[in-house]
Symmetry: C2
């Protein structure tokens, strides 16, 4: 069970190995939004997403024997890179299961970090089953992308930084919009903010058609998405809220927000123009919600979760520039 003590312990293990990311803002972006928007730029994290935190937290928490045998992870790409980098730096063998439709840059980067990549079909194969079989055969420890207490604790370190940075910016009451797949980051941040910045409330942000978390929070029970693919936001197309993450968000998060793919692409274009950061579609949905959702207060924080995007997809987003 992840609690604030496990998040601060993870922060200790991560210190000097991952980056404290900046909280950015831009006067001209605020003008577009009609509100003050502060952006936690996790796209600037090592490996290009917050997943470097969870990966490091999980690998560094293993006992030495397990670490020496190695780890395995399944991921559309960002968790893959986070675990691969952490494993490489710890000298652990690393196998990554990736969907065959993952962006080429993510597959290439995961291999470049030294991991063995095994591809599977997202529509027809069960990644959990494949992962369990491989883990058993090679004695690898499976590091789940969100339903792992140490992964949630690692992602929660974003919340520790955010609590301090928002305080410096004079922001004590605001919604914190978080791009959400399985809910590992959102739940970790929610735990950290509850302890250190209780006026900041997490709201998940998801692409339309893949809003399992928003619907589950509204219904009070874990619901599934009708499809596995069909949004440009590849990084966060998880089938259903996590078993560990959902109860945390039920307790601590407000209602979830939903944006269209086109709004995510517009947010990428506006981040390019005004913040000079590179976001991938799934990493831009929280910013899209901050810019385009109705009924938000005057100040909003958005976590920009990742920036691993193929040039062609980015060029598509750039065509949304005014």
């Amino acid at each position: 069970m992840t609690d604030i003590a496990s998040i601060t312990a993870a922060a200790q293990r991560l210190s000097g190995h991952v980056r404290q990311t900046p909280l950015l803002h831009a006067p001209l972006l605020d003008r577009v939004a009609g509100r003050r928007v502060l952006v936690k730029a996790e796209c600037l994290q090592l490996t290009g997403s917050f997943k470097a935190r969870g990966g490091w937290s999980a690998v560094s928490a293993l006992d030495p024997q397990a670490r020496a045998r190695g780890v395995i992870a399944y991921s559309s790409g960002n968790h893959a890179q986070g675990v691969a980098l952490a494993a490489a730096r710890h000298g652990s063998p690393c196998v990554i299961l990736m969907p065959s439709d993952a962006p080429a840059v993510k597959v290439a980067n995961t291999r470049a970090y030294g991991a063995e990549v095994v591809l599977y079909d997202r529509e027809t194969e069960n990644r959990d089953a494949i992962g369990a079989t491989l883990a058993e055969a090679r004695g690898l420890t499976l590091i789940r992308p969100y339903d792992d207490p140490q992964v949630i604790a690692g992602q929660g370190t974003v919340g520790l930084e955010l609590a301090a940075q928002a305080n410096v910016a004079g922001v004590t009451d605001a919604p914190v919009l978080v791009c959400c797949g399985g809910g590992g980051l959102a739940s970790g941040i929610a735990l950290a903010l509850k302890a250190y910045a209780p006026g900041l409330t997490v709201h998940t942000a998801e692409p339309a058609g893949f809003d399992d978390m928003a619907r589950s929070l509204a219904a009070g029970t874990r619901l599934k998405n009708p499809a596995a693919t069909g949004s440009v936001c590849d990084a966060i197309l998880t089938p259903t809220p996590g078993e560990l993450t959902f109860p945390i968000l039920q307790r601590l998060a407000g209602p979830g927000l939903v944006v269209t793919d086109d709004q995510a692409l517009q947010a990428m274009a506006l981040a390019f123009t005004h913040l000079r950061i590179v976001l991938e579609p799934g990493g831009a949905v929280a910013l899209a919600a901050a810019l385009f959702a109705p009924d938000l207060p005057d100040t909003v924080i958005a976590v920009a979760t990742g920036g691993n995007v193929d040039p062609a997809t980015f060029a598509t987003a750039l065509s949304r520039c005014a």
Copy 2:
């Protein structure tokens, strides 16, 4: 005359008004370079370039009467935005002289910060003469882009941050490559490093054909570029080294480096892929030198100076992605 005391005084005035930018790195970028490359990401600065520092330093150093009458600046765009934001925040009227071929995004942003933009022809008109006439007529204080002691002091705050950040990263001896137009940033950084990190040595980086600073440093006298236009690196196409900046760099900088436009575009693509930051061509020449110049040591620091780039130019750079 700018000295270390004026830089630390500028840092006091800038505190809380400009951003401390991160020193980024990426394992996969180091692999491309064949060396360790640390990137000071001034593209993440307010207004998208380090010019926000010099602008704030100069406007905040004016006496109250001069500040109330207003300021004027001439710039291809980044100095324009820096001065415009500083003037707006100080309640000063602001006129900006921009070349008619400046990127549209820079013109639009300068206007959005509230400045009055006056366009001139870079080939046929003398911006200094136009600026002096307007300044005289309206009682405006001319804020030069680099040959101004307070502007150099403001840019020097990059060097103060860099000295501390390099120390944290364990780097005490390395070249610091700085994109160079008139030399305001390079000279300010050189003064700061001389005082706080004397093992870090500034080297200017310029586009081929516009390497007036490198040739001037080699010749020991200020030389001119043969042309005023003809490189994609619009931000740093100044005719000749500054009168104030050149003696500083003569005393403190090593030999200047030169890169091609194509190398600058490649550096933009690699920064996109591995650092997830947006660079403009003129803001990428130091990174290009860090990646592609021969005979550099194992660890190099590059200052990525700006990220105000039109989508079309950025798309051109993305086509260089492997």
